[in-house]
């Protein structure tokens, strides 16, 4: 576990791979959404173009230092979440800095991004960004509870918080995945995964129609570029996390791509089918359905 | 003999208390009080009585030597003597209070003097 120089190189390599995967994944998913809507949809490499365009531009105005902090926090949160998780089980290269922190660290890292986003957007001085942030925070805290309890159940089941050990325990055929050994925990976590992704039933925060000038529209050019970069990495990192926890992790990149894509499809399917929740509805929903399932999961583990 | 006096004494005590408790007029209460006092003194003296005893005074009738058999117990008499004068003192004081109360409220009804309550 020595903190050698080569670790940093390996980590950068992982980030690069996951970045590209994220961008492509975004493109494809938007293409699928269009095709479901009987439209042709964007090219699959459209996200690359957006990022390159944004980075080319220079922003003429700035709202002060705190304004920069938002996207920086967000991106650091995304990359941080990725770096402290073993991406490819077994390979020494792609296990990043998972030796430094365990499941609890990863869980709390999600807050890191949200906190930064909230601070930055509020600094923008725009009232609507504050409204958006308060809604975002309420929602994040809502889905956080079932997620934590589900994770707790898994940790109790495997008697460890170390992600690599959890993935190791799930090797040996898909029957030994947490999906089957601890179904209730998985259901609870997958429900809260919907909230984490921020797709349609719970996307009142970022939904363009809801607030014409929500936090994302507040940022432009370089800042928006960083945000889009994060929008690629952060979901991918979450997918990897849930894959490691529930679906037996990945021993090779193709396996990782397939599994994460399928997990993502779950939130896309739910997204396109269900209408959008108001914030209090989503808070109530999260603290009723997934919470009870998570509690059942814990009870099962205990006895 | 001393039974009768003691019983009358206690009856007077009870009557006195009944007067104090039920009468509305302040002067009547004070009268009840003085009856209560008189009753007490009668009880006190009747305790001293010795059957066939004579007054505790040495004179021609009672020689110094055989005083011990014939004389009634002098101690309660001394106590009653003091008690009567105390009774007088207290009654006089109450009457003066009654006068003052009358000057304040121009009535002798006891209920009207309840400025100090709760």
């Amino acid at each position: 576990m020595d903190f050698g120089f080569k670790h940093i190189l390996y980590a950068l390599l992982t980030v690069f791979i996951v970045l590209n995967y994220g961008l492509i994944l975004q493109g494809i998913v938007r293409k699928i959404g269009a095709r479901v809507g009987r439209r042709y949809g964007i090219r699959w490499y459209q996200p690359y173009i957006d990022i390159i365009k944004n980075y080319a531009k220079r922003s003429t105005i700035t709202h002060g230092v705190m304004f920069y902090i938002a996207p920086v926090f967000r991106l650091t949160g995304g990359i941080g979440l990725l770096l402290f998780m073993p991406v490819i089980f077994g390979s020494e290269i792609f296990s990043n800095f998972s030796f430094a922190g365990d499941l609890v660290l990863v869980l709390y890292f999600q807050f890191f991004g949200v906190l930064g986003m909230a601070l930055g957007a509020a600094e923008g001085g725009h009232p609507y960004s504050a409204i958006g942030v308060s809604r975002g925070l309420s929602q994040v805290t809502a889905f956080e509870l079932p997620l934590t309890l589900g994770v707790l159940a898994i940790a109790m089941q495997y008697q460890t918080l170390n992600i690599t050990e959890i993935v190791a325990a799930q090797q040996g055929g898909f029957l030994s995945w947490t999906l089957f050994t601890n179904p209730f925990a998985t259901i609870a976590i997958m429900f809260s995964f919907l909230g984490a992704m921020g797709r349609s039933p719970f996307d009142v925060v970022l939904a363009p129609q809801e607030i014409p000038i929500g936090p994302p529209t507040e940022f432009h050019s370089g800042l928006l570029g960083v945000l889009q970069l994060n929008r690629a990495i952060f979901p991918a990192a979450k997918l990897i996390l849930f894959m490691n926890l529930l679906f037996g992790g990945a021993t090779s990149w193709p396996e990782l791509v397939v599994k994460t894509f399928l997990i993502y499809m779950w939130s896309v399917f739910v997204g396109t089918v269900f209408p959008r929740f108001r914030v209090d509805q989503s808070v109530r929903w999260f603290l009723v359905v997934p919470l009870t399932i998570a509690i059942i999961a814990i009870i099962l583990i205990r006895f | 003999m001393e039974y009768i006096s003691m019983i009358t004494g206690f009856l007077l005590v009870l009557l006195g208390l009944w007067g104090v408790l039920t009468q509305k007029n302040i002067i009547k209460i004070i009268i009840g009080f003085s009856i209560f006092d008189t009753g007490l003194h009668i009880v006190l003296v009747s305790i001293a009585y010795l059957r066939g005893g004579t007054a505790p005074v040495i004179d021609k009738a009672v020689k110094v030597t055989e005083a011990i058999e014939k004389v009634v117990d002098p101690v309660p008499h001394a106590l009653v003597l003091t008690a009567i004068v105390i009774g007088l003192g207290v009654t006089a004081l109450m009457l003066v209070y009654a006068l003052k109360l009358y000057q304040n409220k121009k009535t002798l009804e006891v209920q009207s003097f309840n400025d100090l309550k709760w």
Partner: protein, 1038 residues
Amino acid sequence: MISPIHIITLTLGTAFFIGLLKKLNLNISALLMLVAIAAAGTISASWFTAILSGAANAEVFTAGFNPPYSINLLMGKGEALITLLINLAGFLGGVYLLKSLKERGIYTMIIYLVFIMSLNVIVMTRDIFNLFVFMEVASIGIAGLVILDKSSKATQAGFKYLIATGVIAGILLIGIAFTYYFAGTLNIDVIQQASIINFKAGSIAVFLVIISIILELKPFPANGWGIDVYEGANPGIGAMISAASASAMLFVLYKLAVLVPESFLQIITAIGILTFVGSNLMGIKQSNANRLLGYSSIGQIGLLTAIVGLKPFLGAQFELIAVSILISHFFAKAGLFWLSGIVKKQNLKDWAMLRQKPYLLVLFGIFIFALIGFPPFPSFLGKWELIMKLAHSHHFYILAFILIGSFLEGIYLFRWLGFSIKMEDANLPPLTVHWNKIIPVVLSALGVLGSGIYFGTITEIAASLKYIPLLFIALLYVIDFLPVYVKNTVSIAGIGYYLYTIYPDLEGFKLIFGLIFLAGGMLTLVAGYFKTGTRKGFYPLVMLMFAGLVGLIEAHTTFEFFFAWELMTAGSYFLIIRGKKSMTHALSYMLFSLAGAYLILAGFGLAHIGQSSYALDILASVQSFAPLVFILLAIGFMTKTASVGLHIWLPGAHAEAETDVSPMVSAILLKAGVFGLILLMLNMGSQFIGSFNIYYALAWIGAITAVMGNMMAAFQEDAKRLLAYSSVGFLGYILFGLSFMSHLGWLAAVSLSVVHFMFKTLLFLAIGGIVYRVKTKEMYKMGGLIKKMPFTFISVLMGIIVIAGVPPLTGFGGKWILYNAVLEKGWFFPSALVFFAGIVAFLYCFRLIHTVFLGQLKDEHREVKEAPFWLLLPQYMILMVIMLFSALPNSLLKPIGAMLAPIFPEGALEWQGQLAKSGFGYWNGQVIMYIVGGIFVVVFAWLWYMNRNAQKVKQFNIGYSAERPSLPETTHFAYNFFAPYKKALGFLVSPLITNFWDSASEGVHAISDKVRRIYNGNVQTYAFHILAFIVVVYLIIF
């Protein structure tokens, strides 16, 4: 030695002599009167000192014949002390009433002198008829003195008094008559030998004598007439009745208690307790000062009657208990009556006049604290011994009633003190104080303090108390006129020196909490420099609180612990009440801590059953009622850590306190409760009621407190209240951690309490600075202060990151350990609540920083300056420490772990460099810090470089969809910030507990109002009460 008979001859002779020289001018006769009383006082003082140093009791035979045949007077130790007190009160009362006595003519002087003489005789005489005669003299004397003012109320009171004492004297006379008949003598000692109580009639005779003595002491149902006298009479006379004549009658009861069989004593105790609780209950509803003092003095006398009744159980300690409580009642009550004479205002609220003369307020405070029984005063020692003995002899009901009674007394006395400190005194008349009115008050205050110290030295358990801190406070009080910075440096130096002296023998928890208390205290005091002027009376009170806190650390015996606990409560009460609108909050704070203190006292009492020493570690070996002791002490401590049911005092107290007081009270004072709990848990280990583990209940209480505290914090509009509720929540966390009784649990709890101290001081100082500048606490009135107060912003930002537990900073470490502890312990449902609380904590953190700093800057705050330097300095000192602990987490966790190892050997963290490995996972604070820092710096630098020449735009320069916002206020979204969240989970926050406590206090007031209705002012009902009381007690006994 002058024979005691001369007390009588002197006073009576002077009385007759004054009567003789009617023509003489009044000054000389007044002087003569005072000289006579002083002479009597010196005689009894000389006898008291002689008997104390071993001389034999003085026996005076009147009329040359030995006792049974003539009246004899005894001057023993008790008589000497009580006569000394009476003459002292007589002298001080004389000085006090000098002006009114002279106005009313020499008759009143004669009455006064004869009254004092009669009390002396009552105490000394050994003959019951003589006692009857001189009781009559005393009652006529009082009846005479009551009408000193010649007001109609005084006359009515006098008349009621006469009727009542007349009836009682009559009953006494019957009792004496039949005692004489059966025992054949009137002398107490001979009656005792005759032991006439063996057969029924004899015991009835003695019963009548005793019951009339008790009736003279105004027992609860039959004391309407007593209270009317206190209200009607001139306060100077009220002082004499409540101090002098009450102690005389109490001594008579003590003298005659010898004749009485065991069953009577229990009845006397029952009557005493009933009086104590009943009159204190009725005291709550009083609004008239003298009448309230009447109720309180009758209550105290009831307590003393009960103590006389408990004599056989109190054994050797009886004198100490009885005398200490009597002396504190004596001085305090006399002083209060004289004070009410000076104030001349009957409505309690008008006592705010005392503030016109601060030294009067201090005297008033001294008397109130002496009555309740706070440390430096004798009654503290008396109550302690009483409770110990009662617990020892298994009188739990009596113990409980005494504590309830003194709690009720605490309610109305502290409310009264609150009125005098806080009610506005704009339209009250000016206060004029004559020399003769103030000297007795000052002397009685010195008397009660002096006797307190004296008692402290002679009893062995109190001898070990440390008085150095108290001397330091006295010194500070002396230099109170100096400006702030001088006193501030002196007090910081004082604490620093004291910390330096006790540092070597601090180890383990004492070290940690010692540092929090003292080092933390110094830090918060540094913030005190920002105030200018002299800030009168602040520093002694701060030192009082810190003396209490340090005393807790250094306490070896339960007595020292309780002594320090009470000091701390007193100091913090005064600190809190200094805030502007803090009267009600300070009152609720004091009442909760008072109730807590009494629970602790009861707990210590039960713990002492069957123990010889008072050492603290006897808690480990409690024989009987161990779970009950644990619960009592735990609830007692939890009143200080504001757990869920007992928290309603905290938000108000912390929010209304001054800028630099709130961090002290919130960050440091709550730790006292935590320290108490740790001490308790260390010693008593896990307790079970049947099969149920109490710690599980504690975990639940901790969890619920955490959730409730954080939820309430999220919906507060007032910044300081938000922080106060966050303290409640965080202490729920700590309590939750403590209840695990496992290595990890305690590691989390202790490290969290250290972290809590740091960020709470940080945040309270920061918010204090903002409130100081912006002059309002409402968050929605602020906004966009980041531009004006950047440094404060940084410290608040760091603070909330620590609370939220977001990874890089030290907060996360505590959360991580707690997570592992939960996995290890397996209590999941309370843990679920705690995690939910952790997440909700995130909400109020953001609300604080958003509404205050971010968003639009309001017009009126355009020229707001940065917070004063002296507030920022401690904040940045703490920030450095936080950064240190975040970067090198094991510098905080390793020492605590090492300290916990002996207590909880298994489940410790092993450290490899900065990497902490627990049973389940691992965490390397340093690596995380570097990585996150690295990414942050890279991306930030890159963005900064990309937009380096962007033009700075003012916040308000925003247009959207072709419309410009008109006013900055409208665009700052801060009011009801988490509206949707409140809609969803608002029901959790409904003020259930506050309503519960309000309805409880309403109930008590209603009962008190109904009960006091029995005194309807009609003298016949009072006479009826007396007779009914006799018959009822008769039926009970026979």
